[in-house]
Every structure is written in C-alpha cells, then in structure tokens.
C-alpha cells in the first residue's frame, strides 16, 4: 500500500483545478442562495456558458481567448436576465424549477446534432482552447514538479491564477455582503415583503444577485475550458449543481469563506476515499469491492457524510448555529 501516493493525490486534488472550478460555482451560489435566498438549481448552465464561450470563440471562430472571457461574462448576464425576469417576481420555488429545467435545456441544446458545426455536438470542442493563457505562463520551461503536489507546469499556472480568481471573487463578495447592499439581500432572504415595505426594489436586487452569482459561475467554466483544453457537453449535468450545493453547505452557507473550505474539503474527501479504496483493493485488504466500484462508493460516503453534517452541524463548518435555529419557517 502506497501511503505517500494516496496522500499526494489527495492533497493535489484538494487544491487542484476541479476544486477551483467547483469553488467558483459555489461562490456564485453563495451569493444567490446563501445571502439572497434564491434557489438556483441551474448553476451548471452558467458554468457551461463560460466553457462554451471559450470553446466557440477560440475554436470555432478562431478569435482570442480574452474576447472569449468577455463573451462568457455577457452570456452569463443574459442567461440571468432570461431566467430572472419571468421568475423572480414569483415565489422562490419557481426559480428552482425553471433553473434546473433550463440547465438541462442548455446541455441538450449544445450537444444536439443541429449545432454540431458551431458547438461540436456530443463530442464537444477539443483543441488548443487555452493557448493564449498558457502562453503567458511565467514558470521556467524546464519546470518539473513541486515537491508534494503533482501538477504539470501548465496545470500549476492554471492553479495559481485560479486561486487568485477565487480570492478576488471572495473579496468582492466580502465587500458586498458587509455593505448596505448586502443588508438588503439578506433581508430579502428573510422576508421579501418586509424589505419591499421599506422602499427597496426587491426585484432589482434579486436580479443583481442572480447575475453576479452567474458571472462567478461562468468563470468556473472558463477555468475549466482553459485547463482541460476541451469542452464536453455531458460534464454539465445537474449533478454539478448539486455538488456545488454540497460544497456550499459543507463550508457553511452565507459565510464568505464557506465555499473555499467546502471545495477543498469536498475534493479532499472524494479524492482521499477514492485513492485509499483503490490502493486498499490493490493491496488485497478489501476483497468485496472491485476497482471499478470505487468511483461510486466515494459518492456514497460523501452523501452519508453530508447527511451526518446536516443532522449534527446543519450550519456547516463556519456557520452560526443561532442563525439557523431561529429560522421559524
């Protein structure tokens, strides 16, 4: 049993590219759900928008990645408007229903044969999507690997910039939620009618929160496309959104650092159990499981862990229990 391999892999994935992507999606959800109380179950649509903007602009139209990022942000804003304008005047559940349906609609549309020329159909878009970004890599050309973390030169550059993005968005969220703007959105989470009665345009604030969260999610998609140099339609399934919610609840909703802690922990648990079980099966310690079961078992463990968390510490790791206990609804 190779313990050092298990440890290295776990650590690398805990703060790796996947963790960054999910962290950005969860920061977006934190703005929407954690602070404003908007049940967006279609966060993956915003992530897909970011990824596909990069894929289409860079690969299909052969334009610059930087333009693609701008387009990704604009598409995310447009999606937020399309989803928000009809539903945000209705009760919270409607947004949940509409967003989950919309995210599947997006996935089925982008993978359809009708748009194969532009969007790549079921195969997606594969090629030098992030070349403009990787060309800016300042790491020495003969870079091999960090001591413990097994990233390639290319991945390490993505990880560095990715965590800088996470830090910037976390700073933005922190500034916003401690401002009077943040007070209004928290008020909306508690009781919309009360906030309306005090002269605040609740609809506009909900739309702003949806747009901001969507744009942050789209950056997750942009990082994804740049890092993997590939955009696959079937990676944008509803599970993605649910994992992002798991991360948010794990870290603690409505806590600025919740998504960061949640994402690191989520991938640490997922990678740790996966690598451990894989190694244990190989070493013959466990004989009732096949190596192919490991992928599923780790999600079973994650689910059980989440249930335990909800029962024993519903506020997440950072949350304030009083804030939950008082919820009379």
């Amino acid at each position: 049993m190779d313990w050092s391999f298990v440890l290295t892999q776990t650590l690398t994935q805990a703060i790796g590219i996947q963790a960054i992507i999910y962290c950005l999606a969860a920061i977006g959800l934190n703005v929407q759900f954690g602070y404003t109380g908007l049940l967006n179950f279609g966060q993956v649509a915003f992530v897909a928008a970011g990824s596909y903007a990069v894929g289409v602009i860079v690969l299909t139209f052969d334009l610059s990645l930087w333009l693609a990022i701008v387009v990704g942000v604009i598409v995310a804003l447009v999606i937020a408007l399309i989803l928000g304008i009809p539903t945000l005047r209705l009760r919270a559940d409607y947004l949940a229903i509409v967003t989950i349906a919309f995210s599947e609609l997006v996935r089925l549309t982008v993978r359809s044969i009708a748009f194969k020329d532009v969007l790549g159909g079921a195969q997606g878009l594969n090629g030098k999507l992030g070349q403009d970004f990787h060309d800016t890599n300042p790491l020495p050309a003969d870079f091999q690997s960090l001591p413990v973390l097994s990233w390639t030169r290319q991945d390490l550059w993505v990880v560095i910039v990715g965590w800088i993005l996470v830090a910037l968005f976390t700073l933005l969220v922190w500034l916003l939620v401690r401002s009077p703007w943040g007070r209004i959105v928290r008020g909306i989470r508690e009781d919309e009618a009360a906030v309306v009665s005090l002269g605040k345009n609740v609809f506009a604030y909900k739309l702003q929160a949806l747009m901001l969260g969507g744009v942050i999610g789209a950056f997750g998609g942009i990082v994804w496309a740049v890092a993997k140099q590939s955009v696959q339609p079937d990676t944008f399934r509803p599970e993605f959104t649910f994992f992002a919610y798991t991360i948010l609840l794990l870290g603690g909703a409505a806590r600025v650092f919740g998504p960061i802690v949640g994402a690191i922990l989520f991938w640490m648990i997922l990678a740790g159990t996966g690598e451990f079980l894989g190694q244990a099966i190989q070493a013959g310690w466990i004989d009732f499981l096949q190596p192919t079961d490991v992928g599923n078992i780790r999600f079973v463990l994650m689910g059980s862990g989440l249930i335990a968390l909800m029962v024993f510490r519903p506020q997440g790791i950072f949350g304030d229990r009083r804030e939950l206990a008082l919820d009379a609804k």
Binding site: L175, S179, G182, R186, L198, G199, D327
Partner: protein, 303 residues
C-alpha cells in the same frame, strides 16, 4: 419637557379640532386629506372582499380602521399599499395618483406599512433591521457598495438615527441580538421603529396590538401618540376597542368590504349600524334554550 407637553397637546388638539366639524357619515370629505380613495373594489372569485366607494384620511390625525373579522380591512390595506392589486379604483397620496404604483415606490414617497404577522427579519441583528429602513442609502447601489469610503459616513449617521429610535422604543440593549430572539411584543416594537427609519408621512399599522401583553400595550399606545406629535399621520387596523377609543381621532368602520360608518370614536361606538355589524342585529334578544338558533339567525341577518 413641559414645553414639549404643551406642543404635543396642541398637535392632538388641532387634529381633533380639525375633525370636530366633519359630519360623521361614510365617505365624508375631510378638511386636509393625505389620502383619498375612490371606488376601490377587490373580489376573490364571487366574493367581493373590498368595495369602498369613497374614503379620505385626514393628515396629522390618528385614524382607526375597525370592523368585524372578514370585513376587508387588511385587504383594503394591502390594496392601497400596492401589496395586492385592485380590480378597480383610484386613490391618491398627497394629491398624487398612486394606484398601480409598485409598493416599494409607495414606501419611498412616504407611505410605510407594517404587517399583521410581524415581519422582523429573524436572522439579522436588531440594528441591521433598523438600518435597512433608512432611505436613499448610497451603499445600497451595487457598484457603490464595493467602495466603503463612499458610504461609511452615511452608514454612521444611519446608525445614530437607529440608536435614537431604539432607545425610544426601549430596544437599545438588544442591538446585537438576532431579531428572531426577541419576544413577540418586542418584534412589534422593532417593526414599528424600523418603519420610522424610513421617515413616513403616513404610517399604516396592521393590528399593532395583536398578541401584545397589557403592559406593552400601554407603551405602544404612547409610541403611536408620539408619532402623531411628530407630525406623522397614522392609520391603523385594530380589533381592540379600548385602544381604538383611547387614541384615535377618527374611526372608520368597515363591514363586508364597505365603509358603513365614520366619525369620532365616541359617536361611532354608539352608532347602531356599527353595533349591528359587530354583534348582529338581534344581540339584545334573550338567549333561551334555543339560544343557538337565535344566534345563527342573527348572523344570517347581518351577513
């Protein structure tokens, strides 16, 4: 302080004096109305919940809106504050036509309401509840919010104003507590204080005394009187007749969606139509062994 008393006395007196010459009948014009409503109708399917021909609210006075359960008082409240949509009708606030206006805009122009089921924002602190009420905050705009130096000084003055009001409402020791940890009565106080943060010209209180203990009732009465002394017009829905009698300058009685009587509290409470609406036309009839059927028939008459 004695000086204050003299001034406050004159406010109450002037409100009553202004209404003294007004004829006590439904839909009567007032000398200086802050709000005028015409032909306001709201039906739910076949049921007409509100059907108000004409009603005026006198500026600077405390007006009570009373009536038996199901009379349409709260529905009328919801309609004129924009929280519900009327089937027809027009109404003006400060001579400005406001029917169809979004409720948040009505609050901005000075018409602030509270709710029958108190809406304290439970998972926010008392002071944040209060600060939320202040109008025209720079830091409420998305891009300005990111730069604290743009709104820090305003935040400070909002906080001072909030502290002043919390002291007046005796909640100043609770500023850091979550609003959800307050008692029912304290939440009523908080909601009222929060509404005052928005500097209303007309404050509309939906059953301010519901579920409040007698001791707190007295202090709530005091607060409502103070609002009048500060020049705020008060319109409130209430069931508690003692309270209505104690503080209101004018009473409007609704029954089955219509205004059936108006007048000063003493006169209204002696009005036969009001007594009938509340107690049924046969309420003085002797209850006998067949008392049940008697009660039923009297209900039938008034319905």
């Amino acid at each position: 302080m004695p000086n204050d008393q003299a001034v406050s006395g004159s406010r109450a007196a002037s409100a009553q004096a202004a209404l003294a010459t007004v004829e006590p009948r439904p839909g009567v014009p007032k000398p200086d109305p802050i709000m005028v409503a015409d032909h306001v109708r709201r039906s739910f399917g076949g049921l007409t919940a509100v059907n108000v021909e004409h009603v005026e609210i006198q500026r600077g006075a405390i007006t009570a809106l009373i009536g038996p359960n199901g009379a349409g008082k709260t529905t009328f409240f919801n309609l004129i504050t924009g929280f519900d949509n009327a089937n027809e009708g027009t109404w003006t606030f400060n001579d400005r036509q406001v029917d169809g206006t979004a409720p948040y805009k009505l609050a901005r122009i000075g018409m602030v309401r509270t709710f029958q089921l108190t809406k304290a924002l439970s998972r926010m602190t008392v002071i944040d509840n209060m600060r939320l009420g202040a109008k025209h905050q720079t830091g409420e705009r998305f891009f300005a919010a990111i730069f604290p130096f743009l709104w820090n000084s305003q935040e400070k003055s909002v906080g001072e104003k909030a502290m002043g009001l919390l002291e007046r409402f005796n909640l100043h020791e609770k500023i850091g507590d979550f609003a959800g940890s307050l008692s029912g009565g304290q939440r009523k106080l908080l909601e009222m204080a929060r509404a005052l943060m928005a500097d209303p010209e007309l404050i509309m209180l939906d059953e301010p005394m519901a579920g409040v203990n007698p001791a707190l009732k007295q202090s709530l009465l005091g607060h409502i009187k103070t609002m009048r002394e500060e020049g705020t017009t008060v319109l409130f829905v209430e069931h508690d007749m003692d309270m209505v009698h104690d503080i209101s300058d004018w009473v409007i009685v609704m029954s089955q969606g219509e205004v059936i009587a108006e007048g000063p509290p003493d006169a209204v409470m002696k009005d036969q139509a009001v007594i009938d609406a509340y107690l049924g036309a046969h309420h003085e009839a002797q209850l006998t062994e067949t008392g049940e059927s008697l009660t039923e028939s009297s209900d039938g008459d008034s319905a």
